[in-house]
């Protein structure tokens, strides 16, 4: 479904991705690990279409289409979801309003009718119950005054509502205490599906205790230096990233 081939990307003068190749199929869960500054978040942002990152080489196709040609909102409507590491606050904009606009933008793109307020609320309450969220969240400003855990859970709620085909979760575990981490991981697990691919971007292996990936990739200095199954994550936990970094520069 997602084919990344020798992708290079820079921000300003610094090259961050130096030739990343990755293939993700429907139903798979991939984990991308790596030290700070290795390019994990950049990869996520480039796939989502952030315009600060210039693509200087390589290709990304999604269902056979050239993804790099699409605007960020078009990618989203095509089923790509990015769970942000730092979800922004949008004061004054009701959480429900944003969600409904997002759901309807996607439905419109799919040639479906818009959901009305009643259907929307029903759906939202269902998903919130599933994620153990207080329905009051809907009436608050988007991420306004949310705790770290609430913000991340809100990202998962958006994912549940939008039912993406490809979800990239960027450091969804960062800044969470163990209870919040479990809640978020449970949410992600309920959204695992044969029709959906999930890419977890994470620094630590602890998230992978709760969400079992099919594949683990290690990114270092803008390249994937090692791929394997879940055991690779455990190995990393034990040895640190240095042994792979040496391998990359060798």
């Amino acid at each position: 479904m997602l084919e990344i081939n020798n992708l290079k990307s820079r921000i300003g003068d610094s090259e961050i991705l130096r030739g990343v190749s990755l293939s993700v199929k429907t139903g798979e869960v991939h984990a991308i690990m790596g030290p700070n500054g290795s390019g994990k978040s950049t990869l996520a942002q480039v796939v989502a279409g952030h315009e600060d990152y210039e693509v200087s080489g390589g290709s990304v196709t999604y269902d056979g289409k050239d993804l790099l040609e699409l605007e960020p909102e078009e990618r989203a409507r095509e089923g790509i979801f990015l769970g942000f590491q730092y979800p922004v606050e949008i004061p004054g904009v009701n959480n429900a309003y944003l969600l409904k606009a997002a759901v309807n933008a996607k439905r419109k793109h799919q040639g479906l009718g818009e959901v009305d307020a009643f259907e929307f609320l029903k759906l939202a309450r269902e998903k919130m119950a599933m994620l153990g969220m207080d329905p009051k969240f809907l009436n608050r400003g988007v991420n306004e005054g949310f705790s770290g855990g609430e913000k991340k859970r809100n990202e998962i709620l958006q994912m549940a509502m939008l039912e993406p085909r490809l979800a990239i979760l960027d450091e969804t575990d960062s800044g969470l205490d163990i209870d919040a981490l479990k809640a978020v991981a449970e949410g992600v697990n309920t959204l695992r599906s044969p029709d959906r691919a999930i890419v977890l971007v994470t620094h630590y292996q602890r998230l992978l205790d709760y969400i079992q990936p099919d594949f683990v990739h290690v990114l270092s200095e803008g390249r994937i230096v090692r791929s394997g199954d879940k055991s690779l994550a455990l190995e990393l936990e034990e040895k640190g990233y240095d042994w792979l970094r040496e391998a990359a520069t060798a």
Partner: protein, 482 residues
């Protein structure tokens, strides 16, 4: 980011949609101002002697006044002798008795503005006193209002039909010599609206006036007077659009509101005058004096305004809280884009005991615009127990605009409770990307954020006006993040 900025530019620079000029021959006075011009205006309107006297005194006072220069706005000096002070559609001599008799060109103009008078007025249950240039040409729902004793007519008509009321209240809230522009208005005002709500009457519908400036080089000087007698209630809507112009047009209106004991006046404005092109050429200069007088105990005056137009806005709808327990409110959204300059705010003057006021001001700046909030809260020595809450928020779109807040407080009674909150925020690229990643277009995202920012004010507007205001904001302002 480069492409994003370009898109935003083009959105922000969308051309003014209401820019067109209706071709109707006008009978205008030649440019210039002296006592003869004032006599001519008054004669043409068949005014009684007291009106002429009032105008002439205002003119003489105006001659001795100086144009104010304290506002945070800049514009070339206005030559008051280059302005024509009266213009009326040709058909004035033979006023239409109903909409069927109205010049079809005029109706067409309203249609272009999205105001199909007959249709819309009936559907929305709104009585419309439409001001086209200087003379009212159509008034609807008069009979229905007359049934309950409400007077809603053009100012000229009020002078003819209800001279005693006009004489009793005219200039009692905004005196002739109140300020430079108010004095000019008093001398030369051409027309406007007059409303009287009798004792104990709740006006059965929203009263609405659409203003429109049309004849080239004609400053428009409306004067509105609304009197809510004891225990009455009225909601008044004012909305404006103007055609595109090459030279700046001066607009100096005066609005006076009088609320007697237990009366309530709600005055809502959506202002969409031509703001000038992206270089600021050709926009309306809007120097307005609006003031409400809570004359009786337990009276209430509420101003709600959405200001998106004009090259320059100089406007401070105010409340004189004289009556015991009287309440003043000011809810405002002021948008300034491109080269627009807005210096707007309010004055709340607490005079009576236990008076309270609320100020909620939302300023939005984009392009190279300058947006200033200027507010005065004055608590007089005798105003025991006065309360005020002021909230003043600014939203910046892009990097070249400015927002300024000038709050003044003069508290002369120790029992007063006065609160002031102010915030400044910016639509960030991160917020826009977040929304776009959720499938929402950039344009919709900006609208969503701006509407979220303004919602406290929008909820104060009557329903149909709120929808219009939201649409207007979406047109006049989309995107621009640096």
């Amino acid at each position: 980011m480069a492409t994003e900025s370009e898109n935003l530019e083009s959105l922000v620079n969308r051309r003014y949609e209401h820019g067109f000029v209706t071709d109707i021959a006008t009978e205008s006075l030649p440019p210039g101002l002296d006592e003869d011009v004032i006599r001519a205006i008054s004669a043409r309107k068949n005014e009684p002697e007291f009106m002429l006297e009032w105008r002439l005194q205002a003119y003489r006072q105006w001659l001795e006044m100086r144009e104010p220069d304290w506002a945070h706005v800049h514009y070339p000096k206005i030559d008051y002798n280059e302005i024509s002070y009266f213009s009326a559609p040709k058909s004035d001599e033979d006023r239409p008795k109903s909409l069927d008799e109205v010049d079809p060109k005029l109706l067409e103009t309203y249609d272009k503005l999205g105001i199909p008078l007959h249709e819309r007025a009936r559907l929305a249950g709104v009585a419309v006193d439409a001001v086209f240039d200087s003379v009212s040409v159509a008034t609807t729902f008069k009979e229905k209002l007359a049934d309950v004793g409400v007077i809603f007519c053009s100012f000229s008509e009020a002078v003819q039909e209800h001279p005693a009321l006009v004489r009793k209240y005219l200039g009692t809230v905004v005196p002739r010599r109140d300020n430079f522009f108010a004095a000019l208005n008093a001398a030369v005002f051409s027309d406007g609206s007059f409303v009287y709500i009798p004792k104990g009457v709740r006006c059965p519908m929203e009263l609405s006036t659409y203003f429109r400036i049309n004849a080239a080089n004609t400053g428009q000087f409306e004067r509105t007077l609304i009197i809510a007698d004891e225990g009455s209630h009225v909601s008044y809507l004012e909305g404006c659009t103007a055609p595109m112009r090459d030279e700046n047009q001066l607009h100096a209106a005066v609005v006076e509101l009088v609320a007697l004991k237990d009366a309530e006046i709600k005055y809502s404005t959506v202002q969409n005058w031509y703001p000038g092109d992206e270089n600021g050429v050709g926009g309306i200069y809007n120097f307005v004096t609006k003031r409400g007088d809570c004359r009786g105990a337990n009276s209430k005056i509420s101003w709600t305004q959405v200001e998106t137009g004009s090259a320059i806005t100089w406007k401070y709808p105010s409340c004189l809280l004289r009556g015991e327990n009287s309440v003043g409110e000011f809810y405002s959204v002021a948008v300034a884009n491109n080269m627009q300059q807005a210096d707007t705010g309010t004055k709340m003057i607490h005079i009576g005991r236990n008076t309270s006021s609320t100020i909620v001001s939302k300023g939005i700046s984009a392009g190279r615009a300058e947006n200033a909030y200027r507010g005065l809260v004055r608590v007089m020595p005798q105003a025991h127990g006065a309360r005020n809450h002021t909230q003043c928020d600014s939203l910046l779109i892009g990097k070249q605009c400015g927002a300024h807040t000038f709050p003044y407080m003069e508290i002369k009674n120790p029992t007063a409770r006065v609160e002031h909150e102010a915030t400044t925020s910016k639509i960030s690229a991160d917020q826009l990307f977040y929304c776009r990643q959720r499938g929402i277009s950039e344009e919709d995202a900006v609208n969503m954020i701006v509407n979220g920012f303004c919602k406290e004010v929008f909820k104060e507007l009557p329903m149909e006006f709120a929808v219009e205001a939201q649409a207007l904001l979406n047109v006049s302002l989309e995107g621009a993040v640096g």
